[in-house]
Amino acid sequence: MSVVEEERHTGQRFRWLWLFVLAALIVSIFVGRYPTPYFMPPSCLWRDELARRLVLHLRFPRILTAFLMGMALSAAGAVMQIIFRNPLVCSGFLGVSQGAAFGAAFSIIFLSSSPMMIELSAVGFAFSALVVSYLLAWNIRYGDWVLRLVLAGIICSALFSSGVGVLKYLADPLRELPDIVFWLMGGLWAVTWRDFLYVFPIVTVSLLVIYLMRWRVNLLALRDDTAFSLGAAPGRERSVVLMAAVSATAVVVAVAGVVGWVGLIVPHVARRIVGADAQKVIPASMLIGGIFSLFCDNLARTLRAGEIPLGIVTSLFGALIFVVMFFRNDLRIHK
């Protein structure tokens, strides 16, 4: 295939993805439990005042936040898999997810159960986890920088995970524990325009940095001496994209809780569709991640009268997709 043909081919795939995004966004507006279970006829929007207000004040911010969350987690996952040269790394790596979980549980027990306080505490501890991971990596006396960060991420996640365990043990089993458990399973049931406007600027700036550096990110997958010989500053450039990826993840996790598998599985699906080049994988991951999150969130809020935690739905579908890709040997992972 010539370069021109290949670019046309990739362009076509992206046009399809954009079409799916548009369709997913539009369909999501009409999917829900009100006024009728599963699907709302479009005519309700001008006939039913309550339905219109529900769509405008609850469904819209939730749909946009779900889409943004999927974009953020998937782009962050893609970036981390590339720069850590590790296909099993995901967006919550470096202790970010577990740090946020600890922050949320800490707030529920010791501060307040108000969504705003939980989000602030979650984002604060997510960034603290990142700082701890970096400090650990600086001081580990083994391996190169990438390996030290991987080790530090594992240690930091384990520390905060055990912290969450302690907090669950201390929590009031009737009042606090259910809140903690439900938050840990992830979900967007409490999302309002305020949450969307809080997530939007940080995620947008982070995604813009990642998007603009998407070709350059390829260099960071190579050996450090190769990247250096190609004029890159591997340490500095890795820190810039990592900070963007972690910021996006931390903010999203603070609002949505721990939503697993999105940042792990979506980059693999994107790679299957557009190849391994980061300049295609990153935008494709953003679009597919948005669609995947919307799909899962629609199921979470529609299937039953009560909300199904989003993390359960993403984990179920993520694991199924992963298994299918493994069975078909479609992962395009190499040693």
């Binding site: 295939m1 370069v3 290949e6 898999q81 590339i82 040269r85 590790n86 296909p87 603009l212 550096m213 070709w215 350059r216 390829n218 260099l219 997958a221 190579l222 050996r223 450090d224 001496d225 190769t226 250096f228 010989s229 190609l230 004029g231 890159a232 500053a233 450039e237 790679r271 190849g275 391994a276 080049d277 300049q279 994988v281 395009r332 992972i333 190499h334 040693k335």
Partner: protein, 259 residues
């Protein structure tokens, strides 16, 4: 060795952080232009460290490095990477770039932080692919290539940089005889095209078959430096490897036999 060195090293001294053990000691060298210079020595003799210093990844505690008559520190990182390319011993390919995508990465020194390759970069990458004979494999995934083809892809990526100096770290160490010959021939062709080649190797036969000049190293010091036909002898090699070796000639080419 000629005094027309494109690389000139004077009194280099290097040891890794916090260690007393010097990896390079009082190393002075002139590496001539448009020729193949092989740095030969046993494992741990400081060959790869020397390449890292030439590349600028490591800085010596003492000594000077002149590249094309200018101090190494005077070059910006972009300018240096347009001037000097690296073919590492092995490369990470975790997600299977195509050969084309991988070779195109060689254009990074000419692109800013947020830029992507354009038409001029595609022409340079196409040229690098044809020079290495990989044009037909451009859509193949790099991890699916044979060892020899993969090494050629790494060379093609470095050639897309349009370097005047090409450093190759153990370029034939994982290759079978046929691929080894292919890569060594390519190295010779590049030197004839005016590229200065510096290879490190612990394989004396590979060095003898391709190099115009030999630098023999042991424990961070040079044992002997000079043209291959005068330097590559039993006495020098025995001192370098610390064991008796015999240099024989087969079809007028030197072959090393450990005794």
């Amino acid at each position: 060795m000629k005094s027309t060195g494109i690389i000139s090293l004077g009194g280099l001294h290097f040891s890794y952080n916090g260690t007393q053990h010097p990896v390079l000691q009082d190393l002075s060298l002139e590496i001539p232009k448009a020729a193949v210079t092989a740095i030969l020595g046993p494992n741990g003799s400081g060959k790869t460290t020397l390449l890292s210093i030439l590349l600028g990844m490591l800085s010596p505690q003492e000594g000077t490095i002149l590249i094309n008559g200018r101090r190494r520190e005077e070059y910006s990182r972009a300018a240096m990477s347009q001037f000097m390319g690296l073919v590492p011993q092995d490369e990470y390919f975790p997600f299977g770039f195509s050969v084309w995508e991988y070779v195109l990465l060689g254009r990074a020194p000419y692109l800013g932080l947020l830029e992507r390759p354009g038409e001029a970069d595609r022409i340079a990458a196409t040229d690098a692919l044809s020079k290495t004979g990989l044009a037909a494999l451009r859509d193949r995934l790099v991890p699916s290539l044979s060892g020899g083809e993969r090494q050629l892809a790494t060379v093609a990526r470095a050639l897309a940089q349009k370097p005047r100096i090409l450093l190759l770290d153990e370029p034939t160490s994982h290759l079978d005889l046929s691929n080894k010959r292919h890569v060594l021939r390519l190295i010779r062709t590049l030197a004839e095209d005016g590229v200065t080649i510096v290879i490190t190797t612990h394989d004396p036969n590979a060095a003898a078959s391709v190099a115009d000049y030999i630098v023999l190293m042991r424990q961070g010091r040079t044992v002997a430096v000079g043209a291959t036909d005068t330097t590559f002898n039993s006495e020098n090699l025995s001192s370098t490897y610390g064991l008796p070796v015999e240099v024989m000639h087969v079809h007028e080419r030197p072959v090393v036999l450990p005794l």
